[in-house]
């Protein structure tokens, strides 16, 4: 304990500070989390599982997974492409692209949803044409997926751009002088170098995709058993004073979040190990 000479605060202040931090955490983090599970199980395990097995609940869970399953791979591909372009090449409009990537993060999710209503809704620009051809986008699954993809777009790219930038282009150049074509260079050199950063970005993207409320709420139409994702379903149940079921559905979301965080932690460790390995 005496090793750290620079630590000069009296013990009492240290304890006060640590205590305050713990109290804060307990109040704002552990207590609400505990409340969710307590609320979910208040009427017993049977009610808990029953409410989760309800067709509407299952449908919401399915839709949530489906949305993530489409949005995450899409953003994986576009995120990698965008960060590859930004980090490894110079072109006109690069800064504009960078700003656009950040756009979904800086506008309110409600606006992100409104964009799609304006575009594809009945009164929207493309609405009449879509209606004439019998294509439903708004208040249906396509809009939910579109809105989610839009909102989660920055996560992969933002994670990858700094990683790719710090790695420079020398390895790629070396690959090219050794006769590798563009795809070989990407697959054999770039991709392995960014794999942990990529996975990290995907995890964050996935977390947001499953948890997105605002944008999805605007475009979904809240049709039970059809266009409700888990977060929307929780809200509906809550508004109907069906607290046990609402908390049960919420607990699924919390559980998914915890799994994601755990995975993130693992990847982070691996990611940092690799980073420190490089500098040695």
């Amino acid at each position: 304990m005496r090793k750290n000479q620079t630590r000069t605060e009296p013990r009492i202040i240290q304890r006060l500070l640590i205590g305050a931090a713990l109290l804060y955490l307990a109040f704002f983090l552990f207590l609400p989390l505990g409340c969710i599970f307590a609320g979910a199980l208040r009427k017993g395990a049977q009610v808990y599982f029953q409410s989760l097995a309800a067709p509407d609940a299952l449908s919401a869970i399915r839709l949530t997974f489906l949305t993530a399953l489409v949005a995450v791979p899409l953003n994986l591909v576009f995120g990698v492409a965008a960060s590859w372009a930004i980090a490894k090449f110079d072109f006109k409009g690069k800064n504009l692209l960078l700003t656009l990537i950040d756009l979904p993060l800086s506008v309110s999710p409600v606006i992100s949803g409104m964009v799609f209503i304006l575009l594809f809704g009945a009164q929207g620009y493309l609405g009449p044409w879509l209606a004439a051809h019998g294509i439903r986008i708004v208040f249906a699954i396509p809009a939910i997926i579109l809105a989610t993809t839009f909102v989660t777009f920055p996560f992969v790219a933002r994670e990858l751009i700094p990683v790719m930038k710090s790695q420079g282009t020398e390895e790629e150049e070396a690959a090219v002088t050794l006769g590798a074509n563009g795809w070989q260079t990407f697959r054999r050199v770039t991709l392995p170098n960014i794999r942990w950063g990529l996975l990290y970005g995907v995890i964050l993207c996935n977390a947001r995709a499953m948890g997105e409320f605002g944008a999805v709420s605007v475009v979904s139409g809240h049709i039970r058993g059809q266009t409700n994702t888990l977060p929307l379903y929780v809200e509906i149940l809550y508004n109907e004073y069906n607290f046990a079921a609402a908390f049960a559905a919420a607990s699924v979301l919390v559980f998914l979040a915890l799994v994601t965080l755990f995975a993130k932690r693992l990847v982070e460790r691996k990611f940092n190990e690799e980073k420190s390995g490089e500098t040695s």
């Binding site: 020398e170 390895e171 150049e173 070396a174 690959a175 090219v176 002088t177 050794l178 006769g179 590798a180 074509n181 070989q184 054999r188 050199v189 392995p192 170098n193 390995g277 490089e278 040695s280």
Partner: protein
């Protein structure tokens, strides 16, 4: 394979990296591109490799225009300053990379690749690190692996960008001698970039001295050192003493002193400069001709194969002098002692251009 560079120009924004550069490299030569940072030497190397495109001019490989050939089809081996080894691959996989990415039709079978890689690793004397990762190697080892990797694809040209730039002095020296021997065995046309004149003079068959995007001089180490084309080359290749002077009637005046110059010396009546290399002084206790001048010994650095002396001339300029150990012992110089210095060779900067006349006099009338 021979390389010919014709009228190459390249700019990065407002910065002109290369200005109308011409160069011809013969098959099997080992060429040094020497110059200070920002002189365009690396850019030139990258243009030859196709990693950068020139705005003007052409590059010919063996007489054929290479401009529309992509880097991957140019058959150049490139060794990067910071090695650029693939960090997620073992040494073995690094060296094998070029063989594995070949189109299926011309790709060697796995067993052949294995043999070839081990052969190359033996060539660079690092067969025993095949299973390690680049981070587990020292700088010198990484550099040799980078070289082995470049050689795996049997390049027609080897391009090395500051190959020893980030190594410590001792490893650097070993590795450059090794590169020279290596080149003598393989005879592959090679260009390497360096800012270290000693390195360029020691290793290369010919040296290309570059400055501010232009080629100042091309020649053998002997030529560029002993017959520098201009003041820049003179300054960049080794130390030189600079004296401000006025030339009148074939004499260079510094204060009351007049230095007799040769016939070629121009720039009558103009302020100019003359240059003497530190090793081109005669040291005597008595004057040995009109060009001898007094100087006081200020500092001695006797460590090394030559002795470095610092004098103050009678007109107050510092003068760097280098003499051999035996000469130093024979003279028995003491600090603050006054002695006569006589330049054996003087170069005078002439007029408008950077070019200058060389005036030698040792022996030809030095002792009047």
């Amino acid at each position: 394979m021979s390389i010919e560079i014709k009228n190459i120009s390249k700019a990065f924004g407002n910065f002109k990296a290369l200005k109308d550069v011409n160069l011809k490299v013969e098959t099997g030569e080992l060429i040094a591109l020497l110059g200070p940072s920002g002189s365009g030497k690396t850019t030139l190397l990258r243009i030859i490799a196709g990693l950068e495109t020139a705005e003007e001019g052409e590059v010919y490989f063996h007489g054929k225009d290479a401009q529309d050939r992509q880097t991957k089809d140019r058959q150049v081996g490139f060794v990067f300053q910071h090695y650029a080894l693939f960090r997620h691959m073992t040494v073995f996989e690094n060296v094998a990379f070029g063989l594995r990415v070949r189109p299926k039709k011309v790709r060697l079978p796995g067993e052949k690749i294995r043999e070839k890689v081990h052969e190359l690793l033996k060539l660079v004397q690092l067969d025993w690190v095949a299973d390690r990762y680049p981070t587990q190697l020292s700088g010198g080892q990484r550099q040799r692996i980078a070289l082995a990797r470049a050689l795996a694809v049997q390049p027609k040209v080897l391009l090395l960008d500051e190959p020893f730039g980030s190594l410590d002095a001792k490893v650097r020296k070993e590795l450059r001698q090794w590169l020279r021997r290596f080149h003598d065995e393989l005879h592959i046309t090679s260009l390497f970039v360096t800012h270290d004149q000693e390195e360029a003079l020691e290793v290369a068959d010919r040296v290309v001295v570059m400055n501010e995007g232009k080629v100042e001089q091309v020649g053998t180490p002997d030529e560029v050192y002993h017959n520098p084309a201009n003041v820049f080359v003179l300054n960049f290749l080794g130390n030189v003493n600079l004296f401000h002077t006025r030339v009148e009637e074939g004499k260079a005046y510094i204060g009351n002193l007049a230095f007799q110059l040769g016939k070629k010396a121009g720039t009558e009546g103009k302020a100019t400069k003359f240059y003497v290399r530190p090793h081109q002084f005669e040291l005597t206790r008595t004057p040995i001709g009109g060009n001898s001048f007094r100087a006081k010994l200020r500092h001695v650095n006797p460590a090394g194969s030559i002795v470095k002396l610092e004098f103050i001339s009678e007109w107050g300029d510092p003068v760097q002098v280098e003499i051999t150990q035996p000469v130093y012992k024979e003279l028995g110089l003491k600090k603050e002692e006054e002695i006569f210095l006589t330049p054996k060779e003087i170069r005078v900067e002439t007029g408008e251009s950077n070019y200058f006349d060389q005036v030698g006099f040792a022996g030809e009338g030095g002792g009047i």
